[in-house]
Symmetry: C2
Subunit: 239 residues, 2 copies
DNA sequence: GCCGATTTGTCCGTATGTATC
DNA sequence: CGATACATACGGACAAATCGG
């Protein structure tokens, strides 16, 4: 993102994370920041809005812009924003490894269409992957990709990073992801591929993802061992 | 919310939900909507942005604004946005009942401070409530409210709706809520108050909530029986 | 491939309203 | 009351992507 407001957002975010503006302190006023960044009022406000939506700040009418971000809350395995497994691991300094368990091409029948939200007859890649963290199999991912959107998907790409391939090779951009979190009993497959210890349930994240053309190109079921799962989210009233 | 952009947002949201603009169709162009709503370009864009953040639309550069909202996905027990238990039930047409299990005033010691994010020495109300849906005890809420922010909290208020009291009586506004979802083993208390059937784990939503003054005034642990729990969320790249 | 019309995306400057101090 | 700070809205300008001729 090379837009001005986005760079201001990144800069202010870093300044907050580095402690220049600590929790419960006020950042400089809008007019001061407009001078500092040499931008317009509207552009700065747009950057502030992004910070707000991410839970960094809370502007208070007539007073100032308060920092409500605390380091320890954010320093976890963040899932709420759109971020690939690889990105999330790098951000959190976790050593991880992915193994591809199966890679097939299928046509959506009625049952698969209902489960994934794709249309009956759609050609799909079905990928099963297991995510290992520090040697333990903790996450079991089942992806369905729309074949027409990802023409040349191969097991190699899938083992590396699908999102890297999508963004860099295809030049396609992921924009919206609708997620839901639920808790389910372990399946036979879970028991086979995951190191479940004595857990009898898994946390399941279902993601329906759209690209910048508005094409629903991916549905993923991500099954996590409970003790390694947290889903973070910031909700804002009004807007 | 009486602002223009928010009313436009609500109107367009309703038009999408009522089927005037179906899934994968384009809504009228910005210029057409500016004429229809007799507002400025920027104001309309602000409304569109709210729709986008809620997963209703996806604007496509140079083409138009695509609808990506589907009725069945949204027609559940939505939790992702800030919404009280009462509001959520009304929106989903669920008959629910709340019983207060305990209501005490405490001072935060080291352990409570770490758990809740409040400071040691803060005066807090500790409230335990059980949410019954169709007669079954399904949700066990443990709230910690900052006493200085909610001066006159009583068991009666707590049984009705704390959020109604906060917003209407105190005139205080809830703006930001940081949530995390995890899965935990059932506790002794869970087993006592909830109708757990044979479930051995619960879904736990931890919420840290700020008011419009930037004061962290509530931390809540909401423990759900797994089969009645889903957490919905829309993530957008670039914001 | 090019051009022009349409549509979304970004940015600016300004004005006015409202809450806080 | 006035000064400061955030909130909303307007109008105009240009960039960038898409599409059809």
């Amino acid at each position: 993102m090379r837009s001005i407001y986005y760079e201001i957002f990144e800069d202010l975010r870093d300044r907050i994370e580095e402690g220049e503006f600590p929790y419960q302190s006020y950042i400089p006023s809008e007019s001061a920041l407009v001078e500092e960044y040499e931008c317009s009022h509207n552009t700065l406000r747009k950057a502030l809005n992004v910070l707000r939506l991410h839970g960094y700040i809370q502007p208070i009418h007539g007073k100032g812009v308060l920092v409500i971000w605390q380091p320890d809350v954010h320093a976890r395995f963040v899932l709420g924003d759109i971020e690939s497994f690889r990105e999330a691991c790098e951000r959190n300094g976790i050593r991880a490894h992915t193994s591809v368990r199966s890679f097939t091409q299928i046509t959506a029948d009625k049952q698969i269409a209902e489960m994934t939200g794709f249309a009956i007859g759609d050609r799909l890649y079905r990928v099963e992957r297991v995510r290992h963290i520090n040697g333990a199999a903790l996450i079991y991912d089942i992806n369905y990709f729309l074949a027409s959107a990802l023409p040349e998907l191969t097991p190699d790409i899938v083992e590396d990073s699908v999102y890297l391939y999508i963004e860099e090779t295809l030049g396609m951009h992921i924009t919206t992801s609708k997620r839901s979190v639920s808790v389910e009993h372990v399946s036979v497959a879970d028991r086979m591929v995951l190191d479940l210890l004595d857990y009898t349930m898994v946390a399941v994240v279902t993601s329906v993802t759209f690209n910048s053309d508005g094409v629903h190109f991916e549905t993923t079921f991500s099954r996590h061992r409970p003790d390694f799962f947290t889903f973070h989210n910031t909700a804002v009233r009004g807007y």
